[in-house]
């Protein structure tokens, strides 16, 4: 008998599998093809104060074992998310969700978190300070320990829910940034957001993406994500939500051995809409094969001495 339960800052999940923000919308498209309540939770589309269209298309490019996206935080804005999306979402998903919040100023982060704090359907808040696809804002907050800490303090001041800072891999020392968030009161960190990349169209001799650069995700980034989760685990004591190219139950185990308490599944949902469900179903079988009884026992299990 295997036990897949994990706990993030007091929030217990039946399993560690969480579809990542931006790859699962508000859950509806997936709820049409399977009961998404089998998931540990899911992180909904990144939300900002104002409605956003995002970047002009093309927003998507293919890479080896991965993809680039430059959606640029398209979302209906915090008001509509609270008044329309969340109530609809509650109909298809009964568990607490992860509220993914983004912003272009400290105030905006704080205001959005304060608003979402009152939604009881929200289990924890994931603060995205690492979006590589928006200018002045987004990632810029996640590339220095100081600004990351500043955002952390601002949102912690206005919410009672667990706050997880979503970190950028496009930095020299992600562990220092994670530590700064911890010191500023973050309840946890989630990493990695996408790696900044690009592709060029040979016929048109121009970038494929209208935004020029985009965020790389998919199995291509898994080893980088795993390394960063490992480094952050050695630097902080707060829980880590690991993500980056996770595509199967073995990847979930590998992320947890590196130090993740829960794992987000991103691009895999786009290529196989059933991916997250399959991972949840595979997990107990893989645990048995690896002689793992309680999943929590293996968190950081590859760090000895």
């Amino acid at each position: 008998m295997t036990n897949t339960q994990v706990t993030l800052s007091g929030l217990t999940l039946s399993n560690p599998v969480i579809p990542a923000s931006g790859t699962f919308g508000y859950g509806y498209e997936f709820a049409e093809i399977y009961d998404i309540n089998c998931l540990g939770s899911f992180s909904f589309k990144g939300t900002t104060r104002e409605p956003r269209f995002g970047n002009e298309p093309p927003r998507i490019a293919e890479t080896a074992s991965g993809m680039l996206n430059a959606v640029g935080l398209q979302n209906p804005g915090i008001d509509k998310v609270i008044s329309e999306e969340l109530p609809k979402l509650r109909k298809v998903f009964r568990k607490p969700v992860v509220a993914n919040i983004s912003g272009f100023s400290i105030d905006e982060y704080a205001e959005c978190c304060e608003r979402i704090d009152k939604e009881e359907g929200v289990g924890l808040i994931e603060v995205n300070i690492s979006c590589p696809n928006v200018h002045c804002g987004g990632m810029s907050f996640g590339t220095s320990p100081e600004s990351a800490a500043e955002v952390t303090r601002a949102v912690k001041a206005v919410t009672s829910k667990p706050v997880y800072m979503k970190l950028s891999p496009n930095v020299t020392d992600i562990a220092a940034i994670a530590k700064a968030c911890e010191d500023a009161g973050a309840d946890g960190v989630s990493l990695i957001n996408t790696l900044m990349g690009m592709r060029i169209d040979l016929r048109h001799r121009a970038p494929v993406l209208r935004n020029v650069t985009g965020g790389l995700s998919g199995p291509a980034v898994f080893p980088v994500a795993l390394r960063m989760v490992w480094q952050v685990y050695e630097a902080v004591r707060i829980p880590i939500i690991g993500m980056g190219g996770v595509a199967c139950a073995e990847d979930v185990i590998e992320m947890m051995l590196a130090g993740a308490t829960a794992v987000e599944v991103g691009a895999a949902n786009l290529v196989d809409p059933f991916a997250s469900k399959k991972i949840v179903e595979e997990l107990p079988r893989v645990m048995e094969r690896l002689h793992i009884e309680n999943l929590t026992d293996i968190i950081g299990g590859a760090h000895h001495g």
Partner: protein, 241 residues
């Protein structure tokens, strides 16, 4: 949306860089104007291909070799299987066609016109078809449209076959409504030349193809729409160029 493993029955070249693939498998939920999204070995993202024709248990796709993915697809052999997501996109609304619909397809935009013509015919509406190509060697399916009894005009940009010029050079016809699919410059030209309302099928680079990633969103008069889920078909009234 369904996830179906299709088996390749045939995969033949029908024009320059253009292949017709026939597959066997469950086609439930598929409608004219929709597309299927194919997983190809060695490529991360699926390839969206519009539906050319189908029966309850066979599916016909026509695709152009434009990159490494479609090139690999063109080398697939009968018997091999293809993992497809089906029933994607909104498809064409035939209820507004009137009794003399005009179908305008350009290049890779021709295939969806074929299955649409069949559906309209089943509803007792005989459509007129304009098929646009760059040159004679790229032309295909004229005979198939004629076999459906469609009055069919073929245009080629270089004049090597049919009417010299673009689809718009053949549009001085009498029609109640129109449906069109093709490269965006052609869609714009049709938009300007047309004298009735109509429906346009758009293309965009997609991430998932089923509405989850917001990778293919466009602006319309009625808000943001995802080409893959709220499209690919937009009506004349809502388009913002």
């Amino acid at each position: 949306m369904y996830n179906v493993d299709f088996k390749i029955i045939s995969n033949r070249k029908i024009a320059k860089n253009t292949f017709e693939m026939t597959l066997s498998g469950d086609t439930r939920g598929i409608a004219p104007g929709q597309f299927v999204n194919l997983k190809l070995d060695g490529f991360y993202l699926r390839r969206p291909i519009s539906v050319c024709d189908y029966t309850p248990d066979t599916l016909t796709l026509i695709y152009k070799v434009v990159g490494h993915g479609t090139e690999a697809m063109s080398k697939m052999a009968p018997g091999e299987t293809l993992d497809a997501l089906t029933g994607l996109g909104n498809g064409y609304d035939t209820s507004r066609s009137g009794d003399r619909p005009l179908l305008i397809g350009g290049g890779a935009g021709v295939p969806p016109m074929y299955v649409l013509a069949k559906k309209l015919l089943a509803e007792g509406k005989k459509s007129t078809a304009i098929l646009g190509f760059n040159s004679a060697d790229e032309a295909f399916y004229e005979a198939e449209f004629k076999a459906l009894g469609c009055e069919t005009y073929v245009t080629t940009a270089d004049g090597s076959y049919g009417i010299r010029g673009f689809v718009t050079d053949a549009m001085d016809l009498d029609y109640t409504y129109f449906y069109t699919c093709g490269p965006e410059p052609m869609l714009r030209a049709v938009y300007n030349k047309s004298v009735t309302s109509g429906q346009f099928s758009f293309e965009e680079r997609m991430g998932c193809g089923f509405g989850a990633c917001m990778g293919c969103t466009c602006k319309t008069k009625y808000g943001h729409k995802r080409i893959c889920k709220d499209g690919p078909v937009l009506t004349r009234e809502e388009i913002v160029w």
